[in-house]
């Protein structure tokens, strides 16, 4: 077990080191192969560890790395069944994304840098998934933040990509303030900071302190998972290469926030307001993301807002203390969203870097039938068409919220339900416009065998997107829910009244999905020649960016300008310049005194000697 865990972490790290050192020397194919092999090794190790994982968690420590004042941070891992499922999901999705990347980056000159960051990202993500020590976890937390920054701004010749990278970095850093605060409070309360210690000692905390610590971690999770109010970085993060969007912004990093909340579930049990806030914000974000996705034309931005929205459902489940439900939705979302993102990557390359769905249309479907089938699978799962994976997992999260004893969760449920309808509408809007419409000026199509080859790694994802729901179907289908049984004894099982509510919720969900389909067909069927609406409030993300610019950035810029003009230039620079010009005048006078005239120098020497002698002799001066 120890070896498997160590190998799982070390494979991608070694891969990243190899790419950094020799990636560009060994050539494109070998570089891509090495990157994929590193992740494949990690996936194999994850499977081995998964097979050997019992109900009782495994603790592993690889030694201490920071020690002062009686506090020490360990390289310690907590491998329980949640981590087992998470690591298998992460490494599996990452492996397929690496295979896809080999095709996607076939013409990019910086492939070694790309694969280096990608491997490093997988390493840090696995640190998050496995770490027990909260300081070690923070290392992974910041590491994925860095890799995300570097990959969003991967094409750094274009400044707007770099700006998008910085935006993501800064926004998640703001969230991390919450992590640091909560970490500090944890250390102050327990003298150590580990998930195990926090879970065991949560009941000794006062309710107020538990809530404060919980809110700190929740704030960090909101930043990482792009939930309101820290959601605005994710749509801009689409500036990066598309496989990166699939890996970071769909399958793994944005779900790290939810995963943190799952791992902290024992603490949240003692801090009910934190769970309620998470659920409410999750519901609100689900609605917000679905609304904004309706107003986008760029296929990747639609998917980005959709990610924001779907992660909202995970917060809803995690906030309702249903760890299994959140993990289930995390998995299905990882499958269908990375599938959709990678389909979008092929669509964009097939249309010569055209992102606008209103310029794609039926020619794309005819030329790429495989892509069309793949995209259909992903879209059906995302929209929640019955018996696909997204249908079961989303219904589960909504049932959690509906049956929670706290009535405030009903509000979250209502927002989530409305969002489910909107989800179906925007998914089928995208689907009909991008694959069925006959646009007036279609983007020229590009037919390369490499593009068709890139579809290959997507088929397993498509299968999972459609079929993975049966890993954890609701009770009324009378199929044994594998995930619930696997996590029995690790997480709190679903309460009986929630099980009963599932039939109602799932029926409602199916109804909404078909209603959304009908609405989208009504407005966007090919016969209507759908045309893009002018950019509006929805396109701009309901003005969240503008609000931040106006209310936060502009006052800050004014403060900075004041500090620059008034304080720095006038006061500090003035003082420094005045001192400098005074000194310069003085030295000019001294310089003139010593201007090469030997007589003057001699006179000065005599005067000085006379003065010293006088001081020695009489104690003058």
């Amino acid at each position: 077990m120890h070896t498997a865990l160590a190998l799982m972490l070390l494979c991608p790290l070694a891969g990243a080191v190899f790419q950094a050192g020799w990636g560009s020397a060994v050539g494109r194919r070998a570089s891509a192969l090495a990157a994929a092999l590193a992740v494949a090794g990690s996936f194999a190790a994850a499977l081995v560890a998964f097979a050997g994982c019992g109900v009782a968690p495994t603790h592993v420590s690889f030694g201490a790395w920071l020690a002062f004042d009686g506090f020490s941070a360990q390289f310690s891992l907590l491998y329980d069944r949640i981590a087992a499922v998470m690591t298998v999901t992460v490494t599996f999705t990452a492996l397929l994304i690496h295979l896809y990347s080999a095709g996607y980056m076939r013409e990019d000159k910086s492939y070694a840098r790309y694969f280096c960051y990608l491997n490093l990202f997988v390493f840090f993500m696995l640190v998050i998934a496995l770490a027990d020590d909260l300081v070690f976890l923070f290392l992974g937390w910041e590491g994925v933040g860095f890799c995300s920054f570097a990959l969003i701004g991967f094409w750094h010749e274009d400044t707007k990509n770099v700006v998008a990278g910085c935006k993501a970095f800064i926004t998640t850093r703001i969230g991390d303030l919450g992590y640091v605060a909560a970490l500090g409070l944890t250390i102050a309360s327990f003298g150590e900071a580990s998930l195990t210690g926090l879970s065991a000692g949560a009941e000794t905390l006062s309710p107020g302190l538990a809530a404060v610590i919980g809110f700190g971690f929740l704030f960090a999770a909101l930043g990482k998972s792009a939930q309101l109010p820290l959601s605005s970085w994710l749509p801009d993060a689409m500036a990066g290469p598309t496989p990166v969007s699939a890996l970071i912004h769909a399958a793994t990093m944005v779900t790290a926030g939810v995963y943190l909340l799952m791992r902290l579930d024992p603490l949240l049990a003692y801090a009910p307001p934190v769970g309620a806030t998470a659920a409410l914000l999750g519901g609100a974000t689900a609605l917000y993301g679905a609304c904004c996705a309706l107003g986008q034309r760029d296929v990747k931005r639609i998917l980005a807002y959709s990610t924001v929205s779907q992660v909202g459902y995970m917060f809803l489940a995690a906030g309702s203390a249903d760890v299994t439900g959140a993990l289930f939705h995390l998995q299905t979302h990882a499958f269908f969203k990375s599938l959709l993102f990678m389909c979008a990557g092929i669509m964009i390359q097939a249309c010569h870097e055209e992102h606008d769905i209103f310029r794609m249309g039926a020619p794309l479907r005819r030329r790429y039938p495989g892509l069309f089938v793949l995209f259909s699978c992903g879209a059906a799962a995302l929209a929640g068409i019955p018996f696909t994976s997204g249908y079961f997992s989303k219904g589960r999260t909504l049932a959690d919220a509906l049956t929670h004893p706290d009535p405030i969760f009903l509000l979250a449920f209502a927002m989530g339900t409305l969002a489910a309808l909107l989800t179906a509408v925007y998914v089928f809007r995208m689907y009909f416009v991008a694959f069925f419409a006959e646009p007036a000026d279609p983007a020229p199509l590009h037919d390369a065998p490499a593009l068709h080859a890139m579809e290959l790694p997507l088929w397993p994802l498509a299968l999972l997107a459609v079929g993975y729901g049966f890993a954890n179907p609701p009770e009324f289908l009378h199929i044994r829910p594998w995930l619930d049984h696997y996590l029995l004894g690790v997480t709190t099982p679903l309460p009986p009244h929630a099980v009963q509510a599932e039939l109602f919720v799932e029926s409602l969900d199916a109804l909404l999905a078909f209603l959304g389909l009908v609405i989208a067909w009504h407005f966007y069927r090919p016969a209507r020649h759908p045309a893009p609406a002018p950019d509006g409030l929805l396109t701009a993300g309901l003005g969240l960016d503008a609000l931040y610019l106006k209310r936060l950035a502009a006052p800050y810029a004014r403060l900075a300008a004041f500090a620059w003009r008034a304080i720095d230039e006038d006061v500090l620079d003035g003082a420094a310049l005045g001192l400098a010009s005074g000194l310069s005048g003085l030295s000019g006078a001294v310089g003139r005194a010593g201007g090469g005239r030997i007589a003057v120098s001699l006179a000065a020497v005599f005067t000085a000697v006379a003065a010293i002698l006088a001081w020695v002799a009489f104690g003058w001066l």
């Binding site: 310089g591 201007g595 090469g596 005239r597 030997i598 007589a599 001699l602 006179a603 005599f606």
Partner: protein, 102 residues
């Protein structure tokens, strides 16, 4: 001793100041060297006077050292001056201003 030490020191000081003023005020290198010789002589006078007043010979030894120093100084200074004159330079001290940094 007929002459009191204070008188000897007063003469030596006077001689030193005359030498100093000569060294500072004159522009000819030769006259500056003469001024320096005056100052060295004033110092020897003070040493000899002190030696007589205190009855030991250290001051007289110092006077002999100063004589050697003065001879060396005069010889070096004159040699440099002659060398500079041959190279076309003046004897005017203000001509030697390369260290002025212009």
């Amino acid at each position: 001793m007929n002459v009191p030490l204070s008188h000897v020191l007063a003469v030596a000081s006077l001689l030193f100041v005359i030498g100093g003023v000569c060294a500072v005020a004159r522009r000819s290198v030769l006259m500056i060297l003469v001024g320096v010789e005056f100052m060295l002589t004033a110092a020897s006078l003070a040493f000899v006077g002190g030696a007589l007043a205190h009855g030991n010979l250290d001051g007289q030894a110092a006077a002999i050292l100063i004589m050697g120093l003065a001879a060396a100084e005069a010889a070096l200074g004159l040699a440099l001056l002659v060398h500079a004159k041959r190279g076309g330079a003046t004897a005017d001290i203000d001509g030697y201003d390369r260290l002025g940094g212009q």
